[in-house]
Point group: C2
Chain length 431, copies 2
Amino acid sequence: MNIRLYNALILTMKDDNIIKGEIWVCGERIIYVGDGTDTDKVYRSLKLSSILWDREIDCCGNLLMPGFKDAHTHSGMTLLRSYADDLPLDDWLNKQVFPVEAKLDGEMIYHLTKLAILEYLTGGITAIFDMYLTPETIAQACIDMGMRCVQVGAVNNFSQSVDMVEEMFKKLNNSHNLISYILGFHAEYTCSKELLQEIAGLSRKYKAPVYAHISETAKEVEECKKRYGMTPPVFLDSLGMFTFGGGGYHCVHMEEADIDLFQRKRLNVVTNPASNMKLASGIAPISQYLKREINVAIGTDGPASNNCLDMFKEMFLVTALAKIRENDASAVDAWEALKMATVNGSRAMYLPDTDVLEAGKLADIIMIDLQKPNMQPVNNIPKNIVYSAGSQNVKMTMINGRILYENGRFADFIDEQAIYSKANEIKESIC
Amino acid sequence: MNIRLYNALILTMKDDNIIKGEIWVCGERIIYVGDGTDTDKVYRSLKLSSILWDREIDCCGNLLMPGFKDAHTHSGMTLLRSYADDLPLDDWLNKQVFPVEAKLDGEMIYHLTKLAILEYLTGGITAIFDMYLTPETIAQACIDMGMRCVQVGAVNNFSQSVDMVEEMFKKLNNSHNLISYILGFHAEYTCSKELLQEIAGLSRKYKAPVYAHISETAKEVEECKKRYGMTPPVFLDSLGMFTFGGGGYHCVHMEEADIDLFQRKRLNVVTNPASNMKLASGIAPISQYLKREINVAIGTDGPASNNCLDMFKEMFLVTALAKIRENDASAVDAWEALKMATVNGSRAMYLPDTDVLEAGKLADIIMIDLQKPNMQPVNNIPKNIVYSAGSQNVKMTMINGRILYENGRFADFIDEQAIYSKANEIKESIC
């Protein structure tokens, strides 16, 4: 499809300038971003005198920007949205979440992932970094819905295996242009030392980065120190886990040495503020990460612990919690949060072609509706997005050059009512 | 207008039961809520054998509930949305907010209030507790838009006067069925002792409650203690301010004696979590208020310090911040937050007829769209509302029996584009 988006404001995220102009999409890539006065170079490079547009969309002065990257989620947990809340963490996990999860199979996770994807699309999320139980059916759900998805290994003592992680790493990378796979494990506290050593071995074998839940709770850090005399990051590094990059989800309770390590090894932090609040895990030291120039991305975590998949909420929380934590209203400003939700997410997910809007990049583009009361008057668009916008402002979500959600409706090939029905059926059968 | 809303789920907020049924609205009031099997009693009481419906609305299984009460706002500050953020509090207030506010007149505030009302309607807010500069033009904006509004005196050493507060108290109460007015002043730190004594005198004269910003920041409390040897609540009470009820906005930094006082005098706390985060004011001790059975309502505060007027965001923050503050994932559950945003708000605003859905109450009703991905599957609707819903789920907003917003559109008499234009014009002229 050749799509021309014109009469737009454009926030490329290369910097905080907002330009008036248009974006041309050809197939899965952007071929032009600009004010429309220099399009002759596009024709020359294509060796064409004109382009036959499949669609020309008048953006009516609304904003085009890169889609949000949800850099940590468990999509299949939509099943458990509002199933068990307001409980102490251990009861929540052991008495509510684990028993239901034990009954899930790959087909159920396929359907539950599709439900999550509907929500990503309504919220302008164009790529997810997903950790869950059945990588192949998750990949299939994403392919069938047109969602970009980086999966990560979830192996632990109780589910998946190192062999499976290696198999998925080989099978899912290069299998489809929407799908990739990164080595990973659930967390230090759910994995034996031997298992962790094997994952580190895979990392060396493939010279590949590794991700896991790291230092999410104070208890996790304490117990790791009792077990190994080291914090989780330092212990994992001692096994050679981080030679080829990667990083941690959550990273709420990080000591100075941990932060040093993340800086030195250029590891990524993926922060999950709503989940960290709801489970009373704490407030991550984002200001300190930024001072060390650590790449910080943002994730929603799964719908069991959030309960929505909404990057607007997370962006607000990143900056607002930093202000509370530092007792400083100027801590971590809106622009930093917006970068985390877009360009930093691309970097953390090893998706360099999705970070900004420019010719040659993948067409993962969203349109933000500025003609809503919460976006008026127009004093500062980036601050409006972080402090005031929500899913009601997402007018269009395009992934890989394909418009999947527009003006409140999903693309024709998506049957959202069937997906809701299926999710409720699964709930009735196992909850 | 006679309006029948059928095929609905109904959360009356009298308790947490959800019933299947219908609601009948006649003029400004609800005349029936039930499963539809006992409507003969309505006909008997009306001495009618049938009702001629102006509209019969199929709710398609979506949820009807009381509208949200935004129990502390400064609507006219829409002008300053995203105008100055990420600044230390003093710089924000003194260098950015005050200089612009000094240029505002009543007509500008009329238009800026209308812009805020658009946002209230999209977010299911059916009543506001508004403190701002020009009560008569604010009342006019609310009447012209169909918004229910309780105003509160904002007098301080620099603007308004005690005489004006008394005049507005007499003039605006009983002037229009959407409008009321409560005695109030800005805050202890912006008022002389003499001024505060005069307000306390008005309270005695009219046996009327009084509201103000109270103990919002640690600095405010410290300075009051230096000035008078007492915390703000104790000092104000010593002047006889709280003999007839009322309460405080914010109440972030409250000492044991302050909480005792609020409990003993049955004063209301209006909490404003997003604003308290964004301005780095702190986290209010909501769990302690609830333990003492203090009535806690929720406000958005003004758009300069939030920056949106979104009770979904505030409900999430009330419970999520309590969890962080108490280090307990079970602190202040979703149901408590939902009560604060509805019934407790009605009580704090002295609007007893707006609290729940039952025959005889005012028809301030919203419809929540459950057919969106963020509300599926349906494990628990109240928890879905607090933890997952947003303005995208508000399908209808009815105030005083009148539908003002429905399926993404405002009522025909509202010209939102003209309101946006006016707000941007004002911005261009004075910012």
